[in-house]
Amino acid sequence: MLQYALKRLAVAILVALTVSMVTFSLLHLTGDPAIALAGESATQEDIENIRRVYGYDRPFLVQYANWLGNALTGDFGRSHYLKTEVADVVFARLPTTMILGASAITFAFILSIPLGVLAAIKPNTIFDRLALTLAVVGQALPSFWFALIMIFWLGIQWRLLPISGTESWQNFIMPAIALGYYVTPAIMRLTRAGMLEVLASDYIRTARAKGIRPGTILFKHALRNAIIPVVALAAVQFGFMLGGSIVIETIFAINGLGFLAWESIQRADLPMMQAIVLVLACFYIVLTYLADMLNAFLDPRIRVG
């Protein structure tokens, strides 16, 4: 298991490095950052000044190496706009996005796993059809529209929940639902498929032949095996949600990383954008790594080998 862990770690680090290069290149090569920074009414001289001051006139690889070196020590440079250290702002806003993401995935689990299990126990019945319909509908609903609808009904018409800000935990309910429902179908389907497959397996037949109680069979024997791929999927989906949080955070005025990204894009605050993309990408890489490890741990064939 240790060997496996180390090998995957090496890959993860390599991916992180590649992502950092991709991020850096994308934002520097797709346009002239000096021009973007200077704004529309800048003169050529202004642009040249900016280029010199921010080091945009140096060779690309030098810029990248500098940036990466600094980033590894936690220095993401200074924000063009806010005149503060990027790292300070990013890590100050990170927890909010984390809370949002965690609530969203929790909501997704609470909804999808029981539904998936139920659909698998009663295949082709009304429960199954209901679960699958919910899945199909969920995947077709645009998240920002769903958020607006919830705001309209739950926030405005019925005044049940607050519609912006982050004062209390209630502020996170609608955003969590808006962010989490989109990954619910995938998790539900995977749970259902996994359970169906496991329930048809020989060792479940053995368990029944042993007279084990149906509840025990379901949770101890079946779900334990079916959940393994769901774990990996959940990590991946959590990563997506962190990236997709920008839409939800702007709608609900939640002061997290997504909202910060939005503001930075508007202000062409390049160092901030780079940092946010890199931080989120690294989170995703760490999450998938942990999911890999959890997977391996849950499957004795890999853990004990």
Partner: protein, 309 residues
């Protein structure tokens, strides 16, 4: 199931397969029956065809020019409200533009972006996936690495950032999306090719000395094209939703184009009193994506029921 190994076959009987005494319809007839009998496929395809027809015929069908502003007719509700009228069946927005016409033209934008982005990402993803699946080894490792790197990038953020730097036009959005959402193509094509690669007819083609290109194009591709079609429909829906999100945030299609996402964004300020401004384009988006997803899921069920999940 492999036959039992080892045990002495002396005195044992191995049965011959039970004869099919009931005549079966031909495979083509069975497929046809499955396709049309499948509710998802028929509903999805039906709705999608209607939307495509409306989009294509928009210049003919739309009662007004979608960009035509008429400030005397601002914010008229749809016909089912007491203040609405049949002149503007779906009402007008804050610039007096007819919502029905904008909806029809908006369909063209969504379909165009969805379709072309799907083609671009499909091409990239399929090329990568087939190469990885067929050649295996180092090629597979490299492609997997590329896929993992791509998956690590937060798509919406990167798309927004890139568009904000380059500038947002219809074609920039299409290309950015196309260059970003190829991962599912790659993953599915890779595993499909892997499943088919070791089958006998491929080995036969190799033995005959067929070139690699020929093998991939004529032996392997025809057998995995059904998976490709399923992924293509689902990714088209994905692209449509992404464009809508980008336009909603103002970094997609430029106003005054009637992109549905943009219409929702423009209407959100008036959510309190004129909720239809976001309700209608959103419902249209939902219907279109739902139809495409139903079609894609249905095609998957029909062509390979064992993949149903």
């Amino acid at each position: 199931m492999s036959p039992p190994n080892g045990p002495s076959t002396a005195g044992t009987i191995t049965a011959l397969p039970v004869a099919e005494q009931i005549l079966e319809p031909s495979p083509a007839a069975k497929l046809r029956r499955r396709v049309f009998g499948h509710a998802g496929v028929t509903i999805g395809a039906g709705v999608l065809l209607v939307i495509i027809a409306v989009a294509l015929l928009a210049p003919v069908l739309a009662p007004f020019d979608p960009l035509d502003q008429d400030l005397t007719q601002r914010v008229i509700p749809p016909v089912w409200h007491e203040k609405g009228s049949w002149e503007h069946p779906l009402g007008t927005d804050q610039f007096g533009r007819d919502y029905l016409s904008r909806l029809m033209y908006g369909a063209r934008i969504s379909l165009l972006i969805g379709f072309v982005a799907m083609l671009i990402s499909g091409f990239i993803g399929t090329a990568l996936g087939v190469a990885a699946g067929y050649f295996g080894g180092r090629v597979d490792m490299v492609v997997n690495f590329i896929i993992t790197t791509r998956l690590s990038l937060p798509v919406i953020l990167v798309a927004l950032a890139v568009v904000s730097i380059i500038g947002n036009s219809l074609w920039i959005v299409i290309w950015v999306l196309g260059l970003l959402i190829w991962d599912r193509f790659a993953v599915v094509m890779r595993s499909s090719v892997q499943q088919v690669r070791d089958l006998d007819y491929v080995a036969a083609a190799k033995a005959l000395g067929c070139s690699t290109t020929r093998i991939i194009l004529s032996e392997i591709m025809p057998n995995i094209v059904n998976n490709l079609i399923v992924v293509a429909t689902l990714e088209m829906a994905h692209a449509i939703l992404l464009e809508a999100a980008l336009s909603y945030l103002g970094l997609g299609v430029q106003p005054p184009a009637p992109s549905w996402g943009l219409m929702i964004s423009e209407g959100k300020g008036m959510i309190f009193f004129d909720s239809w401004l976001i309700g209608i384009p959103g419902a249209a988006l939902f219907a279109m994506v739902l139809a495409i997803n139903l079609l894609g899921d249905g095609l998957r069920d029909v062509t390979a029921p064992e993949n149903r999940n």
